[in-house]
Each structure stands twice: as structure tokens, then as C-alpha cells.
């Protein structure tokens, strides 16, 4: 395991220090915990957006705190959901009279910890709503299971619900648009190499030199299957087809695209994937709107990528284009 770290138990704290030193004009940290909030929080009369989860997915979620996106991001230990008290502190730190929307990724731990925090805040009389992002089509969505996981598509929720909140809309409206994004977002990922938790001595799974894992989760959770490495075009076709099977797009529909690197994949390769995504969609008569290529929701140093599609309508399109000023996503 080769990492640029000091003490595996302090990686989150030291990272947060480094973030704050780098961006003192954008962010501050609540003294109550590992919580990054926008410098000017709480913003009067604005619905506050809070997300968070385990660390190790940087720039998610601290990198999306700022005007037009999140008001706070709660950082758990690496790959471990933060505890309810931390989330509760975040709520109290950024809430205004307009209320709070929690953006939760669909993992049992995240859901339960955020729910408990919401209950704590509600007991204080704070208006709290939450949405659960479940964009990962690699996992079967059945009422008998935990349902699909939340992965990179979450950033679309941050962006669009963030723009809606920034516009001064009500908690109900912000929640409604967040749910619309969730209903219209699908993602799928794949990995070439595993990731290694700072506290662990070994990778959390192993892949042979010519193997890849299709449908990987952002914590290295297994996907749909493992197979021999293929070309970027073949891999991309597989991911996009799985997404489209679940999306029911028709000719003339427009989508936003996110090609998300999982940590160790060169930008060059992400753009090669994007080229193919565009080709496939164009062939199917689907228009491509705003496209994001880069690292948005990583898995430590995992090599691989995920593709996310968001079916747009005029409202979502406009909110996606609205200004945002965060470390990892700026729209001018």
C-alpha cells in the first residue's frame, strides 16, 4: 500500500485542514465536527442543502459546497457514514427558516444515520426533508432488497436542487426537483484496479492483470460480473446499454452526461469514454446537453469510471446551467 498519508486514523481530519487552508474564502468548518459549510452559511431565507457520507470519495462532498450547490457536507470516516450527531450539527449549522433538505446516497448506513439526524432536528422543530439517491443500475432494484446504490449521479442532485434552493424556492419545491432528478438519473461504473483503505493493509478486492469488474460500487463493492479487459468502446457500450435499458429514452430526448473518474484513471481515458458515449447516444437519436468529464465521486485510488445520464426537461436544463461556485464544480 503506497499512500501519501501520515496516520491512517487522521486522514479525514488532516484532509479537512488542507482543504480549509487552501480555500479559506469559500469554506469554513464547524467546530462541532468534520463538517464543511459555505463561508456565508446560514443563508437567510434559503433552503439549506446538506449531503455527506463516508470520506474517500473526494471531491464529494466537500468539493460541492458553495453558492448554487450544497450548504454543508458531513465527512464520515473513510467509506463509513457519518454519525447522526454530526449530521445534526450540520443541520443546526446551516439551517434557516426555509428548512433543510438532506441528500442521502442509498446505503443502509447513510440512510439510517441521516434519518436519525433528521428525527433529532425535527424534535427541535426544524423543517427537515430528505431525498435518497439511487442511480446505480448495476444493482437490481427490487422491493426485496436495499435497492440501487447512490453513486456519481448524486452530483446532478446537488447541482440542480442547489440551483433551485439558491433561487429562493421553498423546501417542497427543492425536494420535488431533487426527486425529479433522482427519477431521471441512471449510472453505472466499472473498475480496472481496486482501492485500498488507509487503515487496511490490502486491497478490498483483487483483479487479475487482464480483468475488470463491471458494475462496481464506489466502495469497491462487487458489481454485476468480472470479465476480461475490453476496449474502451466496448466497455462504454456495455455501461450505456445497461443504463438505457433502465431509462426508456425516446428519439429527441435530451440528456446531461457525466463521465466520472474513480480516482486513478487519466483524464485522457475519460474523454475517450465520453467520445463513445456521445456516439452511442447520437446514433439512438438522443441529444446530449451539458457534459461533465472529470473526477466527481471517486473511490480512493481505484482506476475505472462511471457513466451517468440525466434525462433533461427545460426546468432541469436551466437549473443545470445556473451559476455555481464550488471547489469542484464551477458554472459561470
Amino acid at each position: 500500500m503506497k499512500k501519501l498519508i501520515n496516520n491512517p486514523e487522521l486522514v479525514v481530519e488532516e484532509m479537512l485542514e488542507g482543504i480549509l487552508e487552501a480555500h479559506p474564502n469559500h469554506l469554513r468548518k464547524l467546530s462541532a465536527g468534520n463538517i464543511l459549510v459555505r463561508k456565508d452559511a446560514p443563508v437567510n431565507g434559503k433552503v439549506a442543502l446538506i449531503s455527506g457520507g463516508g470520506s474517500g470519495h473526494e471531491p464529494a462532498h466537500g468539493g460541492f459546497v458553495g453558492r448554487g450547490m450544497l450548504d454543508a457536507a458531513v465527512a464520515g470516516a473513510v467509506f463509513t457514514s457519518p454519525t447522526p450527531d454530526q449530521i445534526y450539527e450540520a443541520i443546526k449549522g446551516v439551517v434557516s427558516e426555509a428548512g433543510v433538505l438532506l441528500v442521502i446516497k442509498n446505503y443502509t448506513g447513510d440512510v439510517m444515520n441521516f434519518e436519525m439526524a433528521a428525527e433529532m432536528a425535527q424534535a427541535d422543530g426544524i423543517k427537515v426533508e430528505s431525498v435518497i439517491v439511487n442511480d446505480d443500475v448495476a444493482v437490481e432494484n427490487s422491493t426485496w432488497t436495499t435497492g440501487r446504490r447512490g453513486i456519481a449521479g448524486t452530483i446532478f442532485v446537488h447541482k440542480i436542487a442547489g440551483a433551485k434552493a439558491e433561487a429562493g424556492d421553498s423546501l417542497g419545491e427543492v425536494k420535488a426537483v431533487a426527486e425529479k432528478v433522482i427519477a431521471n438519473t441512471r449510472s453505472m461504473g466499472m473498475a480496472l484496479t481496486p482501492c485500498i483503505l488507509p487503515a487496511a493493509r490490502k486491497p478490498n478486492f483483487a483483479l487479475a492483470d487482464n480483468e475488470m469488474e463491471i458494475g462496481i460500487g464506489i466502495h469497491g463493492e462487487p458489481g454485476t460480473h468480472r470479465e476480461e479487459l475490453k476496449s474502451a468502446d466496448e466497455i462504454t457500450l456495455h455501461l450505456v446499454n445497461k443504463i438505457l435499458e433502465d431509462m426508456h429514452l425516446t428519439v429527441g430526448d435530451e440528456v446531461a452526461v457525466m463521465i466520472n473518474g474513480l480516482g486513478a484513471t487519466p483524464l485522457m481515458e475519460l474523454y475517450i469514454v465520453n467520445r463513445k458515449v456521445k456516439q452511442i447516444l447520437t446514433e439512438q437519436g438522443i441529444k446530449v446537453g451539458k457534459t461533465f468529464v472529470g473526477e466527481f465521486m471517486t473511490s480512493l485510488e481505484m482506476a475505472g469510471c462511471s457513466v451517468s445520464l440525466l434525462k433533461l426537461d427545460s426546468e432541469l436544463k436551466e437549473l443545470l446551467e445556473a451559476p455555481a461556485d464550488t471547489l469542484a464544480l464551477k458554472v459561470l
Partner: protein, 216 residues
């Protein structure tokens, strides 16, 4: 059987020791079908519990359980934090005001814990979770009491049932938690949470049997 509050505290500390001793084991189990942190998470939580307990003077067993539950919620994270936390907090509500526990209280506590876990995790028996150790343990304990078996004997039955439950989790597919992403590939592996539940029950049983009667 009867346990006073200082014995209850002692059992809580012993559970922490058991968890810590089995940290690697639980984490290895979680590596196979989860994210390899179950032992780490629980150890962190029970260390915090030890600190908190050493700072409290209360005789109210309800308060002790509530403190344990809140400390777990605040320090474990992940799925097992809220689940074990809620379980202990519910047990705390059940035991509110009590300064000693008898056999029937063990039933009440397990029922409260199961109710809390079901509410929080929306899981049922057979979903391959900690419930698959806890529910059989409760049933066996109640059955044994009904049959007139001694409390010590009933506790032994409960622990045996929990272990059987752990083994049963090997045969079934996970429908809740991280392991559910594996689909049929979760079959063949025992559930880490069921395992930690079994270890806790075993610790309680041992403690009761060796402590014998309360000191005062």
C-alpha cells in the same frame, strides 16, 4: 438470576472486550460480503462506551443502556451504529428506572432491541442480518423458561440458538445491507452483524453464569 447496575456496567465492558478481541475476525467476515469495517466500527464504538461508562455514576440501568446506545450511535457510523445504538436505546427505555434485572427483563430487553432494529433497519428474520441471531435467541430463551429450565440453562439455549442463526445466515441470500448488492453471491458467507450479535449474547451469558449472584 438478578443483575444489579454495576454488574450490568461490567457486562457492557466485557462486550467491548469481546468485540475488540474479535475485531479482525468480524472485519474479515465483512470483507467477504461488505466493506471490511464491521469489527473496526464496533471496536471504536465500544471504546467510547467504556470511556462514557467510567464517567457515569448512575444506578439506573435504563440510563446505562441509553448511554451505551447513544454512544454507539455517535461513534460507530455505518449501518451497525444506528442499529445497535437503537437496540440499546430501546432497551434503555424498557429498563428505565430499574436498578436490577431479572430473567423476565431479559425477555423485555431482547424484545425492545429487536423492535428497535426492525424499525430502524426495516429488516425481517431471514434477511441475513443481526436479527437472524437475535430473534432465535429470544425465542429459545422464552421457550426454555416456559419449559421450566433454569435461567442459566435458558441463557445457554439462547446462545446456542444465536449460533445456529449465524450458521443459517450462511445458507441464505442477503436482502438488506451492503451484502444485498451481491445477490446470490452472498450465499455461503456468514453475516458479520449476526456474528457480532452472537458474540455479545455469549458474553452476557458467560458473565451471568460466572458472576453468579450479585455482590451486594
Amino acid at each position: 438470576m438478578s443483575l444489579n447496575s454495576s454488574q450490568v456496567k461490567k457486562v457492557m465492558l466485557e462486550i467491548g472486550e469481546t468485540v475488540e478481541k474479535n475485531k479482525e475476525f468480524l472485519t474479515e467476515l465483512d470483507l467477504a460480503i461488505g466493506d471490511a469495517d464491521h469489527g473496526i466500527n464496533l471496536t471504536k464504538g465500544f471504546r467510547a462506551v467504556a470511556t462514557k461508562l467510567s464517567a457515569t455514576e448512575t444506578d439506573d440501568i435504563g440510563e446505562i443502556f441509553t448511554l451505551v446506545g447513544m454512544t454507539l450511535v455517535g461513534n460507530v457510523g455505518g449501518a451497525s451504529g444506528p442499529l445497535y445504538g437503537t437496540a440499546f436505546m430501546r432497551a434503555g427505555s424498557y429498563a428505565a428506572g430499574k436498578t436490577s434485572l431479572i430473567a423476565d427483563d431479559f425477555v423485555g430487553i431482547l424484545e425492545a432491541a429487536i423492535g428497535g432494529i426492525k424499525m430502524r433497519g426495516k429488516a425481517e428474520a431471514g434477511d441475513k442480518t443481526m436479527l437472524d441471531a437475535l430473534i432465535p435467541a429470544l425465542n429459545a430463551f422464552q421457550e426454555a423458561l416456559k419449559q421450566g429450565i433454569t435461567v442459566h440453562g435458558a441463557l445457554t439455549k439462547a446462545v446456542e440458538a444465536a449460533l445456529a442463526g449465524v450458521n443459517y445466515t450462511k445458507e441464505i441470500q442477503a436482502r438488506k445491507g451492503r451484502a444485498s448488492y451481491l445477490g446470490a453471491r452472498s450465499i455461503g458467507h456468514q453475516d458479520p452483524g449476526a456474528t457480532s450479535t452472537y458474540l455479545m449474547l455469549r458474553t452476557i451469558s458467560k458473565a451471568v453464569q460466572t458472576q453468579g449472584q450479585p455482590e451486594k
